[in-house]
Point group: C2
Chain length 610, copies 2
Amino acid sequence: MTSQSIKRLILGRPLKSEEAEGEKMPMWKALPILSSDALSSVAYGTEMILLELATVGAFAFSFSIPIALAIILLIAILIVSYRQVIDAYPQGGGAYMVAKENLGMMWGRLAGVSLLIDYTLTVAVSISAGVMAITSAYHAAVPYVVPIALLFTWFMVWMNLRGTSESGNVFAFPTYLFIFCMLVLVGKGLFDWLTGTGHTTHSVSVPTGLPTGLTWFVLLKAFSSGCSAVTGVEAISNAVPHFRRPAEKNAKRTMLTLGILLAVIFGGVTILSQAYNIHPDPTGTKSVLSMVAEAAFGRGGFYYVIQLATTAILTLAANTSFNGFPILSSIMAQDKNMPRMFSNRGDRLAFNYGIITLGILASILLIVFRGKTDALIPLYAIGVFLSFTMAQVGLVLKWCRDKSEGWQRKAIINGVGAFVTLCVVIIFCITKFKEGAWIVIIITPLLVFLLTRISKHYDNVAKQLKVELNEPIPAVETVVIIPVAGIHKVVLSTIAYAKALSPYVVAFYVAFSPEEAKKMEERWKQWNPGVRLVVVVSRYRTLIRPLIEFIGRAERHYGKEKRITVLLPEFITHKFWHRLLHNQSAFRIRTLLLNRKDVVVSTVPFHLND
Amino acid sequence: MTSQSIKRLILGRPLKSEEAEGEKMPMWKALPILSSDALSSVAYGTEMILLELATVGAFAFSFSIPIALAIILLIAILIVSYRQVIDAYPQGGGAYMVAKENLGMMWGRLAGVSLLIDYTLTVAVSISAGVMAITSAYHAAVPYVVPIALLFTWFMVWMNLRGTSESGNVFAFPTYLFIFCMLVLVGKGLFDWLTGTGHTTHSVSVPTGLPTGLTWFVLLKAFSSGCSAVTGVEAISNAVPHFRRPAEKNAKRTMLTLGILLAVIFGGVTILSQAYNIHPDPTGTKSVLSMVAEAAFGRGGFYYVIQLATTAILTLAANTSFNGFPILSSIMAQDKNMPRMFSNRGDRLAFNYGIITLGILASILLIVFRGKTDALIPLYAIGVFLSFTMAQVGLVLKWCRDKSEGWQRKAIINGVGAFVTLCVVIIFCITKFKEGAWIVIIITPLLVFLLTRISKHYDNVAKQLKVELNEPIPAVETVVIIPVAGIHKVVLSTIAYAKALSPYVVAFYVAFSPEEAKKMEERWKQWNPGVRLVVVVSRYRTLIRPLIEFIGRAERHYGKEKRITVLLPEFITHKFWHRLLHNQSAFRIRTLLLNRKDVVVSTVPFHLND
């Protein structure tokens, strides 16, 4: 079995470019693929607010309703704003594209880096959340947290290497199950509350003034914590090219659907947490969502279905990143901000480099933090909100420049959004600085710097490669050097090939003793292949040093007019493991020669029968 | 700073072959390098015997003296026998060489594999023993057992890559300190015992009959456990070529010195354990050696020096393997039983492949067993004793064939040794089967099989490569194919080079759409480099598939008389990290072409300025 056929078996047959359209997502697939991150955030949004408010006392819980309303308003602004992003930039790229076009490439890189960091953190956080759900059920699995998390990560890598559409099929069911559960939960709860039935013991009140002990700072902190419910909404705008035609229309409709779902579920759960008088558990053993579900349905079958669906969506949130990261990095690579290979599509039309890079980065995070990534949760909202801000500032500038129909209204919406999201970023940086925000604050500019260097390098290369169409082709001759290790079939066939290339062919042999040198010279004379043999006695036990010295001498002798070609044999074996038994020195010589000398290195294959 | 200058900094300047003699060891260096394994075994030999006897009761302890005497007799037999090995096989290789020459290649492989497994286990066991000594002193280090053990392992790899002699300098001091400590301990203890002073409360008695409750099986088991004190004596016979001249004489003298030291220290400690009435601690917190030292000197300064020296020698025992493994594998590679590169010397005249392979294998063991390698101790005596048996059986056959002077005496000595060591192997396999001996019993034949396959492969290759000196060089022509990605400087210089090689040159371009194809064709016509351009529109997004198809067509067209050469450009960059931004596709294409097609792949370097 060849490595190619193994690849087929694992990844499936290669897809043609025309099949890319078939790989594109209809809305019903796009929603679960692109919004599991946003939807999963709902699972802990309310909890984050209540936990912050609990620091001053349970009396503050009633403020969760206005805070939730503010966040829903923010969601609405973001949805409207990002629908405008889709219109303006249907080729995808989201905040990166908007920032790049309207604020300049540096801001684009900043937005791109923020999002890439966020995607990576999302994978690590959501997978370890999923694994934690397993370990709390099966305590025996605790020592294997990291291996299980890595297994999940690479399962996702594998699914995504097979292609976007197929992974959508697998991921659709749990997402829809979660949506269904949440809607049933909110519906049942609201019905109970409005009719005064069930366990809705508490009256839901909206506060009118600020009670003593509660400061605006606490409220803002609670608001920014609750904003984690908003992360993930940008994924759709980045992935417009992945939608089935009409892509923009479908993407905008998906975005609207997501916005409504988020508002209903998040708002509903927050109201219910008041109606059922839920107090958050600071030890983290019981989530607010599970307490709401228990209050509504009791510890029955449906309660467990909700728990299962929540676990599943938390894990699947990682998949949103597996979609977003490769697309964004491919767009950035096309702009020469990332290594070129990130824009290459694999056989299955997926961006293999991006998918595998994300898998590796997330694995490193999981290993370094030993699967305990709770600490990462506060970090990963900074990137999203920074990119939100930049996208909206960019759009404000765009509207002011374009002055298209209704530009004032659009600019005001985006301006408000930019201001609010910037506030969230600032509040995050201040309140979460010690909890790890400093890591993001350090790494982000470093990566932006790296991307700038990459971009500069590619620009330099492009300049060096430029050719005038009237530039003549220079006449060149070549001298062929064949390092030989003795007299055998490989040398014979290499000499035969060398004679076809050039009249200047020389064989080069390194002897470790003068006796050996003499013996080789005599045998060569006897064989007489019509090629001069140069024998060098080396005091070092390696071949490479004398060879490089010899090439240096040849270079000085022939000067610039003759290019030197070194022929190295390579054994081609049938069985994979046989390859390990050969070619080690040839490989080393090839690498060193290419790096040290301006010579052409030709690999002449010699096929072994067994 | 280039990768070469970094290598120099880490490993030191390259050494010439003549310097190999300077790298060879005088006796005072050879003893610590080659015998730290054997000497360290003394640290737990007595303990192993007492622990086995303790299973029936303290009354059996008096049997430790006759058992120790039997083991000292075994040491004597082995020393005499291995001095005969050195005489007969001064080129090194020990049991492998003896078994190969006298019993056949298969038995040689078995002996070689046994020793290689043993070397690997020794590294893992002795390094984790050393680390355990650290963690029992500094409890805070407990979570870092594996990282510390890996650090030690790769420190040893590094020292050994620098060359044998330098590592000897570092390792000599602790070994001599240990020898000094042991001799002082035994001297002081025996003096106390004979004069009846100190804490020697117990009379040392030698039993005359077998008391009830004690079976021969228990005695044999205790004997075989105590035999772990013998492991390591073979290292000297394997490393004869590493000795300074006269190598054989020096090796034999070193062996004798080691034998005397082992007998004195092991016998002395065993007698003292009786004299001081030491009972082994089954929990393993206190070693018998440390209790003897405490009884002799109290918990004073010298006691701690002894503890320190013991820890050091346990760790350094690993270094014996770092000497033995590379030499043995290089000898086996010269016999084509191991991959060829194991016989290549590096710049510093060390066998880099062997050293690094041992480092990797030991690291895997340390990681898999999380540094708790106590379980491995019983395993690693099997290999040694199996190789002892084979070496001695081989020598018996040799003496019987040679019939040289005194052959009967020599044959009897070796025959007795073979019988005793075989008994030890059998007892080990039976009594330690469940404790892990089964792993060795499974892995050993698998490795022997693998080595046989490697050897067969190399034999086949040698047959295929054989050439008659009157065989004529066939006349060949070549067709050059240049895959191009556009029109730029690299294409220009590659075409210039291609024209020097052959009049048959064709450029090959893959377009992803018909429009792109047309555009390229027109630009090419405009440029007119004097080379035909073939454009293919590909439905796949990869270059490689159409290229392979095109080569297939060319092969069918030209048949056997023309060899196909594919020219691939490679960007050579100044900075290391820039390299990651280029050449990814060229590398993949090169690998695939060489494996799938019978074409020459030439790498034409293009040097970038930045």
